[in-house]
Symmetry: C2
Subunit: 230 residues, 2 copies
DNA sequence: GGGGACAACTGGTCTGACCTCTTGACCTCT
DNA sequence: AGAGGTCAAGAGGTCAGACCAGTTGTCCCC
């Protein structure tokens, strides 16, 4: 029950029906209107407040905050799909971020990975190469990057990766065909693996770029066409 | 009251007292042990579940998840300070991420900013140059990057920035002296501004690097010394 | 020994009451 | 008439207790 209330209020906020600064009805009133108990709406509002989408003050009114200014990366999944369909603008920004961050992570991983990293990655790649299923390949690629992020030994990049994966995984089935080209380039991945094993950050950065860029530019132009003629 | 429970459970999880996979006591028992009502612990656990730190199943036990694998970037503030002091490892990763992402954002902003961007940034820089207070300068620098991120027109980078700022702002007073060197380089910021106005992404990327790198390398070596001899 | 029913958990939800704090209107004093 | 304080209405915060709805493990019967 609280989940439904949370969803409704969240939709109101991200869709702009509830403008920043606007005051929400009182918890009791909301409970009455939505036909649920007050604890249910209270829990929903508290969760909204935790994600910095609402400002709830004891004794005063609960007001809407500007999510564009305060929301964290964990909101991404809710912004990526709106009304059941992908939002091209947000998808584009994910691709851009991936292309910017991936090589940087690879560079750090090359510095810190050690010899065991390449071995583990090779194993993952072998599993990837062994299947023809797009979704399964996608999962192996995800595991590959998971290991790279681990090797980079960076809490921030680790949390970023988790947040991005949380946005990606729910739509994995739909996205797998689009990403099939990238994940099919096993050669590029093998080059990246040996670059990571070599310990040279710049080589690894370039190799990661070579893995990510083709699909990125391809999908970006696809998104552009989509935005022009939906 | 729920906040305190949330804090306690969260501390247990991030400090490792509650291992991943471990089952929590039932809500009723927790309420009894902690001396609070069940709604209070329920709200706390639900908020933990929302941040993917717990797995709560109807009818079954509530178990601890591996936050390193599932937590999002919004957890960063809680990981940056542990027991009242900065965690060097996490601080290092923030600096690294900043150095990697900042120039990428600047490149996008240069492509999309338009002529109004440089004018707005110049105004912010004038305000920065006009004050001698470290904290105030820090806030102006934050506003500067806020405008750059806006110009980059990327939802992912916007949310990343929000999350990083949420980790940074609470410790701003303590961090301002450390960052004073960077924020004092008004010339480098002015160069970045004109690069952003020129519309050339690579020039902007290089200029952003020149702004961020000096303080980054300086602080990184300071952190290294700190970790060797705490 | 295997399979199904039941009982003892778990979390999920609601009602209704009481507390504390904010807010704004109203009244008083200047 | 305006500035100040007072107070009541209404906001969120918390609790107790009850009941619903799933899961799980045991125990009994076949």
């Amino acid at each position: 029950m609280p989940d439904e209330v949370f969803d409704q209020v969240l939709s109101g906020v991200v869709d702009g029906e509830l403008a920043p600064g606007e005051a929400l009805p009182s918890e009791r009133r909301l409970a009455e209107v939505l036909g649920v108990s007050r604890p249910a709406v209270r829990e929903a509002l508290q969760r909204m407040a935790q994600t910095r989408l609402l400002d709830v003050r004891h004794g005063g009114a609960t007001t809407v905050r500007d999510f564009r200014r305060h929301a964290g990366l964990d909101l991404l999944p809710r912004l990526l799909v709106r009304g059941g369909t992908l939002v091209p603008d947000v998808a584009r920004s994910i691709l851009e971020a991936r292309l910017a961050v991936g090589p940087a992570v690879a560079a750090l991983a090359a510095e810190r990975g050690g010899p065991t990293l390449a071995a583990a990655l090779t194993e993952t790649l072998d599993a990837l190469a062994a299947t023809d299923d797009d979704v399964e390949r996608q999962l192996h690629a995800l595991a590959f990057w998971d290991q790279v992020v681990d090797a980079a030994d960076s809490m921030v990049f680790r949390l970023m990766f988790n947040s991005l994966r949380a946005a990606y995984e729910p739509a994995l089935d739909a996205l797998a065909p689009l990403m099939a080209a990238e994940v099919g380039q096993v050669d590029a991945y093998r080059l990246l693996t040996s670059a990571l094993g070599s310990g040279d950050p710049e080589t690894a950065r370039a190799a990661a770029d070579r893995v990510l860029r083709p699909a990125t530019t391809q999908l970006l132009s696809a998104l552009e066409r989509l935005e022009e003629a939906p």
